[in-house]
C-alpha cells in the first residue's frame, strides 16, 4: 500500500475494485465500513460480483470480467473531458499526460459500456465522485492483478490516482491488499528472481558486488532467474530438474493443476518443507517438518509495509525445526556455512544490506511496527509513500489500451468462471481445514450461480454439477446466490477435492507472469 490501513478512514471517497474485502480482509473492511457509516465517506465498488461490501456502496459498478482497463480509461476520459483532474499536480509532479489523454480519448462512456457492460451514466457518476474528492483511496486485490493484463490494470489505477492528485496524500493512495501474511516481506527480502533485498537488482553490478562481499562468495548469477509460473513449464519440459519448496502448496494454488501435477512429477528432486503433509508434499522425494508462526521469533511485513514482530509461544512439535535453521543446516552440508545465533541476528544482517530496512531492529519494533522505507535508526518510518516526490522523481502516466482476456466464452463453454476465497477458509486450506468450526461454516466447494442462470439450467440450491473448462473438470454443489451475476459463476479455490484450479487458465501476464485466475470459460451440467 502507498498509504496506511488507518488512512482509509481519512478518505472522502473510497474506490474498491477486485477485492472481496469483507471476506478476504475483514479487518480492513471494518475501516471502510466505519468511514462510510460514521465519517461521511462515499464508496464506489467495481466488481463483477455483488459482494457484501457493495451493500455499503454509494455506487456498485458491474464490469464484465477482464475489462478493467476499459472502465478505468473511461473514468479518466470523463475526468479529463470535464476538466476535473488535478491540473497543478499533473503539471508539477508527473510526465506523460498527453500520452494518457490521447489513449483515453476514444474511451467514451458509450464505448466503455459496449466493452464493460457498465451503463455510461453510472461510469460518469463514478468518475465525478472519485475526481470530486479531496482525498480518494483506491483499494484493490487479486481481482485486479490475476489477469493477463494484471500489470496494465495496476498501472491504470495508478494513472487514475495521479490524475486526481491522490498519491502522496493522507487518505489517498493506490493500495493493494496483500492476501498472505508475509507476501510483502517475501518480496522485500528478495524472494523474487530479479532482486535482492529491498528490490536491489541482480543485474546491477554494484548490488551484486555488495552481496558477494557481505556473503563472502564470488560469481553471483547476474541474470534474473525463473518466476514460479515459469518454473513449472520448465519442469514439464525437463529443463528444471530440482525444486525446493518452502511453505507453499502449488498443487492446489497453481492454475491448470493437471499440467502442474505432471510438471512436478517430472522433477528429479522435489523437496517440500512445510508444517503439514500438503497435496504437494505427498508427491515430494523429501519432506522436512518446519515450525509454524507460533513457534518462532521473527518479523512479518504487512500490506502497509509495516514490519512487525512474531514471537515464539510454543515449541515446535516433534523434531520440527524453524525454516531458517533447516536452510542453514543444509547450506553447511553443501559447504557454505551460514550461522546465526537467533532471528534477531538475521534481521541485523538484513538491515546492513537493505537501505529500506536499515533503520529497523527488534528493539525499535518491540511494541509498534515501523513502515519501510526506514533508512536510519533514527528514522520514524514512512507511512505514506510519494509525499513530496515519487521514488523515481516524476510520476509517469502510461497510455494503456484495453486488451481482452485470454479466453472467452463460446458455444461449447458458454459461462465465465471467476475464482477467489471465502471468509472461513484460507488459500489452499492447509491451516483452516484443521479447524472444526471453520469447516462447519464452509465445509465444501460450491459453484455460485445467479438465480436466473440456475433457472435456465434447471438447477436448485445444493444440486451437484460437473463443471468443465478446456483443461479439466470438477464436481461441486450449486449455490444459488444474489452475489452472482448472470453469465458468470464463482468457485472458491480452497478445496483440493474439487480444485477450481483444475479449470483455470495458466495464461500469464507478460510482465508479472501472474496467471489469469479471474477469467476462464466453462460449461456446467447437472450430475445425475
Amino acid at each position: 500500500m502507498t498509504n496506511t490501513i488507518g488512512c482509509i478512514e481519512k478518505a472522502d471517497v473510497i474506490l474498491i475494485t477486485g477485492s472481496n474485502t469483507t471476506e478476504n480482509h475483514p479487518v480492513i473492511s471494518s475501516y471502510v465500513k466505519r468511514a462510510v457509516t460514521f465519517k461521511g465517506a462515499r464508496l464506489i465498488v467495481v466488481d463483477p460480483r455483488r459482494i457484501k461490501i457493495a451493500d455499503f456502496a454509494n455506487l456498485w459498478l458491474r464490469p464484465n470480467l477482464g475489462t478493467d482497463v476499459a472502465w478505468l480509461n473511461g473514468m479518466m476520459h470523463v475526468i479529463i473531458e470535464e476538466e476535473l483532474y488535478a491540473k497543478e499536480y499533473v503539471e508539477k509532479r508527473t510526465v506523460g499526460f498527453d500520452e494518457l489523454r490521447r489513449t483515453v480519448e476514444k474511451y467514451t462512456p458509450d464505448y466503455v459500456e459496449a466493452i464493460t457492460g457498465i451503463p455510461g451514466e453510472r461510469l460518469v457518476e463514478a468518475a465525478r465522485m472519485y475526481a470530486g474528492a479531496k482525498a480518494a483511496s483506491i483499494l484493490y486485490c487479486m481481482g485486479i492483478t490475476q489477469h493477463t493484463t494484471g500489470t496494465d490494470n495496476v498501472k491504470s489505477l495508478a494513472n487514475l490516482a495521479m490524475l486526481c492528485g491522490n498519491l502522496g496524500i493522507e487518505g489517498g493512495g493506490v493500495n493493494p491488499l496483500r492476501g498472505q501474511n508475509n507476501v510483502q516481506g517475501a518480496c522485500d527480502m528478495g524472494g523474487l528472481p530479479d532482486v535482492y533485498t529491498g528490490y536491489q537488482k541482480v543485474v546491477d553490478p554494484e548490488a551484486r558486488k555488495k552481496m558477494e562481499e557481505a556473503w563472502g562468495v564470488e560469481n553471483l548469477p547476474d541474470q534474473p532467474g525463473l518466476k514460479v509460473t515459469e518454473m513449472l513449464p520448465r519442469a514439464h519440459e525437463g529443463e528444471l530438474k530440482a525444486l525446493y519448496i518452502v511453505g507453499e502448496n502449488p498443487l492446489v494454488s497453481d492454475p491448470d493443476l493437471n499440467h502442474a501435477e505432471a510438471s512436478l512429477k517430472n522433477l528429479d528432486l522435489l523437496v517440500v518443507q512445510d508444517i503439514f503433509l500438503t497435496e504437494t508434499a505427498r508427491i515430494a522425494d523429501v519432506v522436512l517438518p518446519s515450525a509454524c508462526f507460533a513457534e518462532k521469533d521473527g518479523t512479518f511485513s504487512n500490506t502497509e509495509r509495516r514490519v512487525q514482530r512474531i514471537r515464539k509461544a510454543l515449541d515446535p512439535p516433534g523434531e520440527a525445526r524453524e525454516d531458517w535453521q533447516i536452510i542453514c543446516d543444509l547450506s553447511g552440508r553443501m559447504g557454505y556455512s551460514m550461522s546465526y545465533a537467533d532471528a534477531s541476528e538475521i534481521m541485523d544482517e538484513i538491515a546492513r544490506l537493505t537501505p529500506s530496512y536499515a533503520g529497523i531492529s527488534y528493539d525499535r519494533i518491540d511494541k509498534v511496527g515501523l513502515h519501510w522505507p526506514c533508512p536510519t535508526p533514527e528514522h520514524p518510518g514512512t507511512p505514506i509513500l510519494h509525499v513530496d516526490m515519487f521514488a523515481s522523481g516524476k510520476g509517469v502516466f502510461y497510455g494503456i489500451d484495453w486488451i481482452a482476456p485470454a479466453e472467452s466464452t463460446d458455444e461449447e463453454y458458454p459461462l465465465y468462471l471467476t475464482t477467489g476465497r471465502v471468509l472461513y477458509q484460507y488459500h489452499t486450506g492447509t491451516m483452516t481445514m484443521k479447524s472444526e468450526g471453520l469447516v462447519d461454516r464452509a465445509p465444501e466447494c460450491f459453484v455460485e450461480i445467479s438465480p436466473q442462470d440456475a433457472k435456465a439450467y434447471g438447477l436448485q440450491d445444493g444440486d451437484m454439477v460437473r463443471i468443465a473448462s478446456r483443461r479439466g473438470s470438477i464436481e461441486a454443489r450449486i449455490s444459488v446466490s444474489e452475489k452472482a451475476v448472470n453469465g458468470t459463476v464463482f468457485i472458491p479455490f480452497h478445496y483440493a477435492k474439487a480444485a477450481a484450479n483444475r479449470l483455470t487458465n495458466a495464461a500469464l501476464d507478460p510482465i508479472a507472469k501472474i496467471p489469469e485466475f479471474k477469467v476462464c470459460a466453462v460449461r456446467l451440467a447437472k450430475v445425475a
Binding site: 488507518g6 479487518v27 491488499l177 507476501v183 516481506g185 533485498t197 531458517w324
Partner: protein
C-alpha cells in the same frame, strides 16, 4: 502549544483539549474512573452509569464517559455519593442472573444453594467461566459488593450454543451493550442489537435467530468486548483460566493485514486468541480466522519428522539422513545440469528472516536466481 483549558479532578488541576470527555481527561492523567459499558472507539452511551462522577454545581451525578469537560469544572471521582451510587448498581447486577463467583456472598446455606443451582444450569462443576477475567467481578471486589442484599432475579433466556465459536450465556449478560457497539460501530457487521423491552431486554439478531443463522461473521469482537461471562469462546469456556495462561504477543499468520494478537497458551497449547488493544494496525480487531482458526497449530496432523521417499513411499527418517540426501542430490544436479536446473520457492507464509536466508541460500550456494514465491497465486 499546550492547552489553555483547565479542569480540577480530585483536587488536581489538569488541562484538557476541547471536546474531551471527563473520562478521557481522567484516563490521560492516569486517574482511574471505572467503566462497564464504555467502549473505546464507539459512541459513549452512559447506559451503565458505573462511571458517574460528582461535578460541583450539578444537581445529580454525571456519567464521565458522556460528559464533556468544561473550563473550571471541579470533579470528584470517588466521593462517598459516587461510591454509594456505584455500589447500588453493582449490587443489582450481581443479584441478577448467574454471577456465580465467590465474590457473591451470603450465608453458607444460601451460597451453596445458589452455586449448585447455577452449576446445574451451566452443566459445569466450576465457578463462572470468566472468573478472574471479569470487569463486574473486579468492580464488585473493588467496591466490596456481594449482591446478597438484593432480591435475586432469575435468568430469562436459555444459553445459545449452536454455533462452533461463541457461547451466548444470557444468564450472565448485564445488558451493557458493549457487544452491540463492537458489532455495529467497531466492526460494522450490524448483526446484533437490543431487543424486547425493559426487564425482558435481550441482545438479539434480527428475528432473534441464533448467530449462525444471522449476518454474524464470527469475528468475535463482541466476545472481546464483553466485560462479563455472557459471551465466551466456546473452546476456551472452562478451559482457559487467566492465572494458568501465558499471553504471547505476535502477528496473525493469515492475510496481509498483520493484525496484532495475543496467543493465550496453556500446557503448550493455544487455548484462545485475542486482539491487542490500542495498537495499529488492527486496534484489537480480528476476524474469524485470526481469532478462531488456531487449531492447526496443535493439530495431530503436523509433520514431526523428516520423510524420505523409499521404494515409492514416504518414510520417516532422521534429519542427518534427510538433509545429507538433499545436499548430495542438489549438488549432483547442479554439477550435471548447471545452477539453472534448480528452482527454489520461498514463502509468503514464513518470516522475513527466513525468506532472507532462503534467497541467500539459492543465490550464494546454489548460484541461481530462480527463487520466487506465490505472490502471484
Amino acid at each position: 502549544m499546550p492547552s489553555e483549558h483547565k479542569i480540577t479532578i480530585n483536587g488536581n488541576p489538569l488541562t484538557f483539549e476541547s471536546g474531551e470527555t471527563i473520562l478521557e481527561v481522567a484516563r490521560r492523567h492516569s486517574i482511574d474512573i471505572p467503566t462497564l459499558c464504555f467502549l473505546k472507539g464507539a459512541t459513549p452511551t452512559g447506559a451503565c452509569r458505573m462511571c458517574v462522577v460528582e461535578v460541583a454545581g450539578a444537581d445529580r451525578l454525571l456519567p464521565a464517559c458522556a460528559t464533556q469537560a468544561v473550563d473550571d469544572m471541579v470533579v470528584q471521582t470517588e466521593s462517598p455519593q459516587v461510591v454509594e451510587a456505584r455500589r447500588v448498581i453493582l449490587q443489582l447486577l450481581m443479584a441478577s442472573g448467574n454471577h456465580n463467583c465467590a465474590i457473591r456472598g451470603g450465608d453458607s446455606a444460601s451460597w451453596t444453594e445458589f452455586q449448585l443451582q447455577v452449576q446445574q444450569a451451566d452443566g459445569a462443576e466450576e465457578l463462572c467461566p470468566v472468573w478472574g477475567d471479569c470487569r463486574l467481578q473486579d468492580l464488585a471486589y473493588r467496591y466490596q459488593v456481594t449482591g446478597q442484599d438484593m432480591p435475586h432475579t432469575e435468568a430469562r433466556y436459555p444459553m445459545e450454543t449452536v454455533n462452533p465459536f461463541i457461547v451466548r450465556d444470557f444468564s450472565r449478560c448485564i445488558n451493557c451493550g458493549r457487544c452491540v457497539q463492537a458489532c455495529n460501530e467497531i466492526q460494522v457487521n450490524n448483526a446484533i442489537d437490543f431487543g424486547y423491552r425493559s426487564a425482558d431486554s435481550k441482545i438479539v439478531t434480527p428475528g432473534d435467530r441464533p448467530l449462525r443463522d444471522s449476518d454474524c461473521v464470527f469475528c468475535g469482537e463482541c466476545v472481546q468486548a464483553c466485560p462479563v461471562g455472557a459471551l465466551v469462546e466456546k473452546d476456551a469456556r472452562y478451559v482457559a483460566r487467566p492465572w494458568e495462561e501465558k499471553k504471547v504477543r505476535t502477528t496473525c499468520t493469515y492475510c496481509g493485514v498483520g493484525c496484532q494478537l495475543y496467543l493465550h497458551v496453556m500446557d503448550d497449547k493455544v487455548v484462545r486468541v485475542t486482539g491487542v488493544p490500542d495498537t495499529p494496525p488492527n486496534y484489537g480487531r480480528l476476524c474469524v480466522k485470526g481469532r478462531f482458526g488456531y487449531s492447526f497449530i496443535n493439530s495431530e496432523e503436523r509433520l514431526t519428522k523428516p520423510l524420505v521417499r523409499k521404494n515409492g513411499e514416504l518414510q520417516e527418517a532422521g534429519w542427518d539422513e534427510a538433509l545429507d540426501l538433499v545436499a548430495q542430490k542438489l549438488g549432483s544436479i547442479k554439477d550435471a545440469h548447471g545452477p539453472d536446473s534448480i528452482g527454489v520457492l520461498s514463502s509468503a507464509r514464513v518470516s522475513n528472516e527466513e525468506n532472507y536466508v532462503i534467497q541467500k541460500f539459492a543465490r550464494a550456494v546454489l548460484k541461481t536466481n530462480s527463487v520466487d514465491h506465490c505472490a502471484r497465486l
